[in-house]
Symmetry: C2
Subunit: 153 residues, 2 copies
C-alpha cells in the first residue's frame, strides 16, 4: 500500500478501539477488590484535576445531567467524592475527590498502566517512535471535535 488515506487510518482505528476498550475496562475493574466501572473511573479522572459542578461534569462527559447525577450519587455514597455547597450560587454544589477517592483513582490508573505498558514494550524502537508522534497528533485532532467543554480525558 502506498500512502495511507485518512479513511484507511479511520478503519484501522475502528478496528483497534474495541481491543483497547476491553483491556482497559477489564483492568480498571480488577483494581483493589472494589468494583469500579469505566464511567465511574472517568468521572474520578475529571475530578482529579480539580473541583467541578455536576453540570460541568455532565457537559465534559457528554452525558445527560440525570446520568451524571446518578453516577456521582454512587461515588458520594462510597466516600470517593464530596459535595460541598457553593456559597456564590446556592443552586449548585462543588464536587471534589476525597483523599480516599484520590487514592482509589490513582491506584486504579496505576493498575491499568501496569497492565498495558508491558504490551506496548514489545513495540520496536521505530514503532514506539511512530506511536510517540501519532498518538498526540490523534489526540489533538480528535479533541477539536470535543470543542466546547473540552476534555482530554
Amino acid at each position: 500500500m502506498a500512502t495511507w488515506t485518512s479513511e484507511d487510518a479511520t478503519r484501522e482505528l475502528l478496528a483497534v478501539l474495541p481491543l483497547l476498550n476491553r483491556i482497559v475496562a477489564h483492568e480498571v475493574r480488577r483494581e483493589a477488590g472494589e468494583e469500579t466501572t469505566m464511567p465511574q473511573f472517568r468521572v474520578l479522572a475529571h475530578l482529579a484535576d480539580g473541583a467541578l459542578t455536576l453540570s460541568a461534569l455532565a457537559k465534559r462527559r457528554r452525558v445527560s445531567l440525570q446520568s451524571m447525577s446518578e453516577l456521582v450519587q454512587v461515588l458520594v455514597e462510597r466516600g470517593w467524592v464530596a459535595r460541598t455547597p457553593d456559597p456564590s450560587d446556592r443552586r449548585q454544589h462543588l464536587l471534589q475527590l476525597t483523599a480516599h477517592g484520590r487514592a482509589h483513582y490513582e491506584r486504579a490508573q496505576e493498575m491499568a498502566v501496569r497492565r498495558l505498558a508491558p504490551l506496548l514494550a514489545q513495540l520496536s524502537p521505530d514503532e514506539m517512535a511512530a506511536v510517540q508522534l501519532a498518538i498526540p497528533a490523534l489526540h489533538r485532532v480528535l479533541a477539536q471535535e470535543e470543542s466546547s467543554g473540552n476534555d482530554g480525558n
Copy 2:
C-alpha cells in the same frame, strides 16, 4: 522529552480512548434513523465476516453467553440477523447477517468513517505516516492479549 517509555505511551492512549469512543459511538447511533448501539454494531461487524454460533460470538466479544443471547435476540427481531439450525449439531444455530442486516451494517460503518476521516485528514504528512506505522503495530501487540478466540474487531 527524550524517547517515550511504554508507560508514557500507555498514559497517552488512555487519554485518547474516551475521545475516540465518544465520537464513534455518537456517529454509529446517528445512522439511518435507526438506533444502533455500539455492542450491536460490533456483533454485526463480526457476522459480516461469516456465520458464527452464539457461543463463538460470546467468546470473541468476551461477554457471557447470556449477554450475547439477549443482544442477538434484538438483532433477530429487527431482521438484521437470521438463526438457522445447524444440522451437524442440533444444540446450536448458525447466526448470519440478512441482506437487510448487511446493508445496515455497511451504512453505519460508512457514516462513522465519513465523520472521522475529515478529522484525520488534518494530520500532517509526517503524522499520517506515523499513524500508518503506529496503529497496526498497536493492533498487533494488543491483539496478543486477546489470544484465544481472537478478534480484531
